[in-house]
């Protein structure tokens, strides 16, 4: 740990002490795990017939087609919509005209401050509950509005993260404002933004699970159907959670790979910052 700001390189006695703590820590972690497994075992979570459904081809198909595919459809539609909306709002927020900039600012601030679930419930009622596809579209529209507002901030921060000289050079060789934006700034901004957009995909994918409250199709609907039929709440939960986690980890790996390939190790955009209500004004800093 000599490369850490917190500790010096440990001496021989400290190494021994750390080894002791390591063993104690391992025992504690194993103890907690053993307790959980024992209690789950007593409650019958690990009985074979509760897991059988997940190796039955018919049900696996139901999980993948009705569950995963619908979830991915909702997330995919929302991400595409959010990219379009985010692009429009982001460009509007960068505009020099107050009449364009302020409404865009208002829309972005509104949809970032309102919970997605609230939007979802409202859209669901607005579309009409009885209408068959309304819950699907409620999820898509709510996620589009929220993620679009976030992506607008990402776009603005991305354009601002392009070094100032680039813009000046564009003007210096006689380009117009639109040309500077389209030819010089935007291509570079998109490159910087890509990892952040992928991270936003993870957010959208996770939020599709909220569709449960508006009876949307997808993994959470399948979850309910399966445990109602087989009375295996906990195993089903473990399986559904694992599907989400695996897909999200794949997306994270993609974002990291893109980050290294396109931007370099230090990102000028930090997504956690863009979630900040002050509109990512701290982006491009030294941290």
């Amino acid at each position: 740990m000599s490369d850490s700001v917190l500790f010096d390189a440990p001496g021989p006695r400290t190494v021994r002490r750390h080894r002791l703590y390591g063993v104690l820590g391992l025992l504690a972690v194993l103890g907690v795990l053993a307790f959980v497994i024992k209690r789950f075992y007593d409650a019958g979570v690990f009985e074979g017939d509760k897991w059988e459904v997940f190796v039955t081809p018919d049900y696996v198909r139901v999980i993948i087609v009705d569950g995963l595919l619908n979830t991915l459809k909702m997330a995919g539609a929302a991400v595409i919509g959010a990219c379009v909306l985010g692009f429009l709002l982001g460009v509007a927020k960068l505009s020099d005209h107050r009449l364009v900039r302020w409404p865009a600012w208002l829309v972005v601030e509104f949809f970032r401050a309102v919970p997605v679930l609230l939007l979802m419930v409202f859209t669901w009622f607005a579309l009409g509950i009885n209408n068959n596809g309304s819950s699907f579209w409620a999820v898509v529209i709510a996620l589009t509005l929220y993620n679009g507002a976030v992506l607008a901030e990402v776009l603005r921060a991305g354009v601002n993260a392009v070094p100032k000289g680039q813009r000046e050079a564009g003007y210096a060789i006689g380009m117009r404002k639109t040309q500077v934006m389209n030819i010089v700034l935007m291509p570079q901004a998109v490159k910087i933004m890509l990892p952040a957009i992928i991270s936003q995909c993870i957010v959208a994918l996770k939020d599709t699970a909220l569709g449960q409250y508006v009876l949307a199709p997808g993994l959470t609907r399948i979850y309910k159907q399966i445990f109602l039929e087989f009375d295996n709440r906990v195993p089903t939960m473990i399986v559904i959670a694992s599907i989400y986690i695996i897909i999200n980890l794949l997306l994270t790996a993609l974002a990291t790979w893109l980050q290294h390939k396109l931007v370099g190790r230090k990102s000028p955009l930090d997504v956690t910052r863009i979630g900040n209500m002050q509109g990512g004004e701290n982006t491009g800093g030294t941290i």
């Binding site: 740990m1 490369d3 850490s4 700001v5 917190l6 500790f7 010096d8 440990p10 750390h18 703590y21 390591g22 820590g25 391992l26 972690v29 307790f35 959980v36 209690r39 789950f40 007593d42 409650a43 979570v45 509104f110 401050a113 309102v114 919970p115 997605v116 679930l117 609230l118 419930v121 409202f122 009622f125 607005a126 993870i202 996770k206 939020d207 599709t208 699970a209 909220l210 449960q212 409250y213 959470t220 709440r233 906990v234 939960m237 959670a241 989400y244 986690i245 999200n248 980890l249 994270t252 930090d270 956690t272 910052r273 979630g275 900040n276 209500m277 002050q278 701290n282 030294t286 941290i287």
Partner: protein, 229 residues
């Protein structure tokens, strides 16, 4: 709009629950997140791994499923909140509230951990070396140099994590806590035919007020404690 004005007591009470969820789980998530980050940057490999596995798993699980865990999977583990039966001035904090607080705190603490870790990573090595060079002991290095710098550097991401928490309290509605989103859905059920938009705007404004007040406070703190690293 009229529907909300007629039920203004219920409206206020619903946001009272939202605010209570935010305060309690915000505090708990800060404590747990600090513990996690201590494990994660500490010198003991086992705890480092355990904390990073926890953070990775929780960050990638939808909050609804975390809630589901505390509603259905935790009771066989002996974790139910049946012992919780507090009522303060007309507000009842019982089983459902306890499960919601546990889910929100455990979920948010993973993000708090990441925010704090980014702050610790932002402290340049030279600062700690300089502190050691003038003869400060380990406690002094931590207390007087590293932790203040790290905390200030993590303030913006911490604030956005807490703002996300305010919005995430709405998920408690799915599991039956009578907070704002739950209240909006029942109002929409009763008056949705004619007053959809008004009801939505009223509830949206409630959330916006909480979020903006919090972000204003954190913005002022950020300004005051800004540090050039």
């Amino acid at each position: 709009m009229q529907a909300v004005l007629d039920n203004f007591d219920a409206y206020l009470k619903a946001f009272g629950y939202t605010f209570a969820l935010f305060l309690v789980s915000g505090f708990l998530s800060l404590v747990l997140g600090t513990l996690l980050v201590a494990m994660r940057v500490g010198p003991i490999a086992v705890l480092r791994t355990a904390a990073s596995v926890y953070v990775t798993v929780v960050r990638n699980t939808p909050l609804v499923i975390v809630f589901g865990f505390f509603s259905f999977a935790a009771p066989p583990l002996g974790i139910n909140f049946k012992w919780l039966d507090v009522s303060i001035g007309g507000y009842d904090f019982t089983t459902l509230f306890g499960a919601a607080v546990a889910s929100l705190s455990l979920y948010t603490s993973a993000f708090v951990c990441e925010a704090l870790r980014s702050g610790i990573n932002a402290v340049p090595l030279g600062q700690a070396e300089a502190a050691r060079a003038i003869g400060l002991p380990f406690g002094g290095v931590m207390r007087q140099v590293v932790l203040p710098l790290a905390f200030r550097a993590s303030l913006p991401p911490l604030a956005s994590v807490q703002i996300a928490l305010i919005k995430n309290t709405s998920v408690a509605a799915v599991f039956g806590v009578a907070e704002a989103t739950y209240d909006m859905r029942s109002l929409l059920n009763d008056f949705g035919a004619t007053q959809k938009f008004g009801i939505f705007v009223c509830f949206a404004i409630g959330y916006i007020v909480i979020v903006e007040v919090f972000s204003f406070i954190s913005y002022r703190l950020e300004r005051r404690w800004r540090v050039a690293l």
